[in-house]
């Protein structure tokens, strides 16, 4: 059996005179659910002792998207050395690690299996708890690592695979208010970038191009804007961008055109996110009248223009916008380690027969 309760309790109990009294509880985190191989060590004092991310972007760029088998192979090739480096940078040995947390899903299953299996192996050897972390929970709790945000808070989770609004009531307590009915928002960024001939990944490329563009030049649709509810839709926006670009004829678009399309697209996305989040704020306030914080997380939350719009929105509703630093918004292992710290404190450890999950909704009661 795991000495789960034991390890966690000893590390947490501030009993004077024991060797645990001053020791922080260090958790190793592993993230391999998409195209970043990542390892990090985080402690229960919210310190990121190491935070390494090895991007596979170059491996996938030629395909214009992530190839799952290539991703899985690359994770296996690099993960063990990356973990060793993460321990080294944290200046810790195995004896200092209280638990190992790995993304257990959702994501590209080949990669998730590599990370979760290596984490289990480490847990077996070191006789420490293994924690299978929902990648979305990693994003959802990252604002507690960066800014020590208290529960409950409203969360806008925007990434390459997800676009959701949730109320975060506690660790493991998520109430989904809305999700995308078609594409994820990051996917819309990637596809728009591809149409414009911008490099993959599309998010940063669109943001750079949009900086010098005229957002009012092209009138793009704002799907679901003004409608009740908190769901999203981006398929129509994506199609409109394609028609716009393809309708321009065979000559390649000028830099001016690219910048203006990027800016118009980004403005449309921001309008949609602000509109849907406005409805979510009302739902959040109904449930938690004293609720004070709007958090945005996920790779798309690294976009500064979106952060500015959301910050303005939050202020107008008497909320504070907390957006973790971009480094913690894009995929990383520090947020997985942190979710591990949070779950370990509550004794929410996992068994070695945990089955990695390609799909894993945060709110199990939400409709598909």
């Amino acid at each position: 059996m795991y000495q789960v309760g034991c390890t966690a309790a000893k590390a947490l109990a501030p009993t004077a005179g024991t060797r645990y009294s001053l020791a922080a509880m260090n958790v190793l985190g592993i993230e391999t659910s998409c195209d970043e191989t990542a390892a990090a060590v985080v402690n229960d004092r919210r310190e990121r002792l190491s935070d390494l991310v090895l991007s596979q972007t170059a491996l996938h760029a030629v395909y214009g998207g992530i190839v799952p088998e290539i991703a899985a192979r690359a994770h296996l090739d690099h993960l063990d050395t990356l973990i060793a480096r993460a321990l080294g940078e944290a200046r810790l040995g195995w004896a200092d690690i209280a638990a190992v947390a790995a993304t257990g899903g959702p994501g590209l299953i080949g990669g998730v299996i590599v990370g979760a299996t290596m984490a289990k192996a480490i847990a077996v050897v070191r006789e420490i708890p293994f924690l299978a972390i929902n990648h979305l929970e990693g994003h959802a709790l990252s604002a507690r690592l960066s800014d020590d945000v208290a529960f409950p808070y409203l969360l806008l989770l925007v990434s390459g695979g997800h676009c959701q609004l949730l109320i975060v009531e506690g660790v493991g307590g998520y109430l989904r208010l809305g999700t995308t009915i078609d594409d994820a928002v990051g996917e819309a960024f990637d596809k728009t970038a591809k149409l414009l001939g911008l490099p993959y990944p599309g998010g940063p490329a669109i943001e750079r191009a949009a900086a010098s563009g005229d957002a009012t030049r092209f009138a793009l649709p704002r799907p679901l804007k003004g409608r009740p509810g908190c769901d999203f839709s981006f398929a129509g926006l994506k199609t409109a961008v394609r028609q716009l670009v393809e309708g321009a004829g065979s000559s390649p678009p000028t830099a001016r055109d690219v910048a203006d399309v990027a800016a118009s697209f980004q403005a449309a996305v921001a309008d949609v996110l602000v509109d849907r989040t406005t409805n979510a704020i009302a739902a959040f306030k109904r449930r938690y009248p004293d609720g004070a914080v709007l958090v945005t997380a996920g790779g798309v939350a690294a976009n500064q223009a979106l952060r500015d719009r959301l910050s303005d929105l939050a202020r107008r509703h008497g909320l504070l916008l907390v957006a973790p630093p971009p480094r913690l918004c894009t995929d990383n292992a520090a947020m997985i380690a942190w979710a591990g710290v949070e779950r370990l404190r509550l004794g929410l450890v996992d068994s070695l027969d945990f089955a990695p999950r390609p799909r894993w909704p945060l709110d199990p009661t939400a409709r598909a």
Partner: protein
């Protein structure tokens, strides 16, 4: 003391061996779910034994089913990293060949054939003393049969491995005669341990031996979304 693992094909096994003696072993046939089964199995096989007492850890590196191979290698690399013990890789083909009884294989050419989940099979030919006669390859059964039917090959053929029946059908179609080994159709961790015991330590950790490049299929409009 050696801990050996295999999860590269339609099963999982783990064994703890000391010299010729098998201290503990477990094996289970399964098509899916290697990631759930393997580590609990390792924990049971290592019950009461410290990882620090291992001389080395051994694992099958393939060829095999991609996901299962990666479960085995990710587990083995994780164990080796956390225990600070050296890791040795053994191919599935040589592990299956080594499990063929020495009396059975005397005077024969041993042909190991393993399922690739595609139209081809993973194949390697060994002499009766188990020295490889050719590199491992992924080939169609009819091509293998054509080559074996060519003049010059005269040794009796002994087939082994999970795809032996597939290869046997192709050889029969060419009118070739052969025998099929009674040996286990997939690697056995105790045999993996025995093979690893005498291998020199590699300078780099064992890498997966895929034999097949990644199947790259681009969805319309570029890369696909992540599952939600």
């Amino acid at each position: 003391m050696i801990l050996a693992l295999d999860s590269a094909l339609s099963g999982c096994s783990a064994a703890l061996c000391e010299g010729q003696a098998v201290r503990a072993q477990e094996s289970r046939e399964l098509a899916h779910g290697h990631a759930e089964i393997l580590l609990p199995m390792v924990k049971r096989v290592m019950a009461g034994q410290s990882f620090a007492s291992l001389d080395r850890i051994a694992v099958t590196v393939g060829p095999g089913h991609f996901t299962g191979m990666r479960v085995g290698l990710a587990a083995a690399r994780g164990l080796a990293l956390a225990a600070g013990r050296p890791l040795i890789g053994v191919t599935t083909l040589e592990a299956v060949a080594a499990a063929v009884d020495s009396v059975e294989r005397a005077g024969c050419m041993v042909i190991v054939a393993l399922d690739s989940k595609r139209a081809d099979i993973f194949v390697q030919c060994f002499a009766a003393d188990l020295s490889p006669l050719a590199p491992a390859a992924a080939r169609r059964p009819d091509e293998i049969a054509r080559d074996l039917a060519a003049p010059g090959a005269s040794l009796p053929l002994l087939l082994a491995g999970g795809a032996a029946a597939t290869l046997a059908a192709a050889l029969s179609a060419r009118g070739l005669t052969f025998a099929v080994s009674r040996a286990a159709p997939r690697p056995d961790a105790a045999t993996v341990a025995r093979l690893a015991a005498t291998r020199p330590l590699p300078s780099t950790p064992p890498a997966p031996f895929y034999l097949h490049p990644p199947a790259v299929t681009l969805p319309a409009g570029g890369g696909g979304p992540l599952p939600r």
